[in-house]
Symmetry: C2
Subunit: 204 residues, 2 copies
DNA sequence: GTCTATATCGGGATAGAC
DNA sequence: GTCTATCCCGATATAGAC
C-alpha cells in the first residue's frame, strides 16, 4: 500500500478546496463575532472572503453549516491555546487565558454574542453551547475539587458552585468589557474572585 | 381651568391608542426576549398581538421604535419592582431580585439576549445597555462602599470591582440558567459570592 | 472551482379603502 | 383605527455557463 488514500491530499485538487473552506470559516468567524448569527449574511461573509456568494455556497450547504464550522474551528484553535500547561496552576491558567483573549479580537465577541443568541430552541448553535457549558463546568469543578483536596479551597466553598461561578463571571465581565474596554479589566476581575476563593499554597 | 389638557385622557379617542400601544409593546417584549432583535419580525409581533402588520405600523414608525419602547417598558416595570425596600440590606435585595426574576418569564431572556446582541456598533439597543451598565455599576459601587464604611466589606475588596463582579456574575449565571434551569440556582450562586465578600453585621 | 443570473422567500415599508 | 394589497429589498437557494 504505497498509495495515499486516507485523508485529504496536501497537493492536488483537494488542497485548494481545503484552503478555501478554511479561509471562508475564518472570515465567517469574524462576521458572526461582530454581528451575531441572525445579524450576519452569507453575502457579507462571501464578500469578506473575497469570493462570490455562489462560490461560498459551493463549500457549505447553508448558513447553519457555516456556523457549525466556525464553532468547530473555535474548538480546534482552543484545544491548542486553552489547554493548560502541564503543571500550570488552575488559577494562573484562567487569568492568563482571560488576558490572552483580549488580544485576540473576536473570540470574546463570538462567544458572548452567540451564547446568548443560541438560547432559543431552534438556534443552530444551541446544542454546541449546551455541551460547552457542560464540559466546562465539569472540568472546572474537577479543578476546584483537586484544590480542595490540597487544602487550598476556602472552607464552605462548593466546587460545583465555584465552577459555575467562574464561568458566569468570566462571560459576564467579558460582555461588560466589550461595551467599555477601557473601564473593565476582565483578568483582574477574575483574579480577584479566585483570590477570594483560593488560599495561597503555603497557607495550606 | 377645569378642562383637562395635560396628559392623555383616560376616556375618549386616545384611550384605545394608549392601550393598543401598551399591548403591542408587551407582546414585543415576549418576542424579542425569545428570539432576539434580529431574530424577530414585526409580523410575528403583530400576530402575537392579534393585529395586522399595518396596524402595528400605525403605532410605531419602525422596528427600532418598538425595541426602544420595550426597553422603556422594562425600566418602567423595573422601577417598581427592582427598587429596594427602604432599609432592605443590599445583599438580601440582590438575592431576592434574582429569585424573583426566575418567576417572571422573559425578563432574564430579554436582558441576556439583547445585552449580548447590542454590543454591535449599529444595534439600536446599544446606547441603552451602555447606560444601564453605567448606572448599575455606580449604584452597586455605592452600596459596597457603604458596606465598607460599616466595616462589613472583607479586607482588600474594591467596591468598584465588586460592583462589576456582581453584575457580571448575575448576567452570566442567568444565561447558564436559561440553558439548564434545573441545574443552575442563580440566587444561590449570587448569595454564595456575597457571603464570600461581605462579613455578617455582628462581626463588625 | 468559480462565476452570473435568477428563483423564491420573508422582511420592512407604503398606499389607500373602509 | 384597522384592514388588504402591494412594493421593494435583502436574504438564501438553485441553475447552468465557463
Amino acid at each position: 500500500m504505497d498509495t495515499e488514500i486516507a485523508g485529504p491530499r496536501r497537493r492536488g485538487p483537494y488542497a485548494k478546496s481545503a484552503a478555501r473552506r478554511r479561509q471562508i470559516v475564518e472570515e465567517a468567524y469574524r462576521v458572526f463575532a461582530t454581528r451575531g448569527y441572525h445579524g450576519s449574511s452569507l453575502r457579507e461573509i462571501a464578500a469578506a472572503a473575497g469570493i462570490s456568494l455562489s462560490n461560498l455556497q459551493h463549500y457549505f450547504t447553508g448558513k447553519e453549516d457555516v456556523l457549525l464550522a466556525v464553532l468547530e474551528l473555535r474548538d480546534e484553535l482552543g484545544a491548542g491555546v486553552d489547554a493548560p500547561e502541564d503543571d500550570e496552576p488552575f488559577e494562573r491558567h484562567i487569568v492568563a487565558q482571560a488576558a490572552a483573549n483580549e488580544r485576540i479580537p473576536g473570540v470574546i465577541a463570538l462567544y458572548s454574542v452567540l451564547s446568548a443568541e443560541a438560547v432559543t430552541d431552534d438556534h443552530p448553535g444551541r446544542e454546541y453551547f449546551l455541551g460547552r457549558y457542560d464540559t466546562l463546568r465539569s472540568e472546572y469543578e474537577a479543578e476546584f475539587a483537586a484544590l480542595r483536596d490540597q487544602g487550598r479551597l476556602r472552607d464552605g466553598v462548593d466546587p460545583a458552585l465555584a465552577a459555575a461561578t467562574v464561568i458566569a463571571l468570566w462571560e459576564g465581565i467579558q460582555l461588560q468589557w466589550l461595551y467599555t474596554p477601557d473601564r473593565i479589566d476582565a483578568a483582574a476581575t477574575l483574579r480577584a474572585y479566585l483570590d477570594l476563593v483560593l488560599l495561597s499554597p503555603q497557607t495550606a
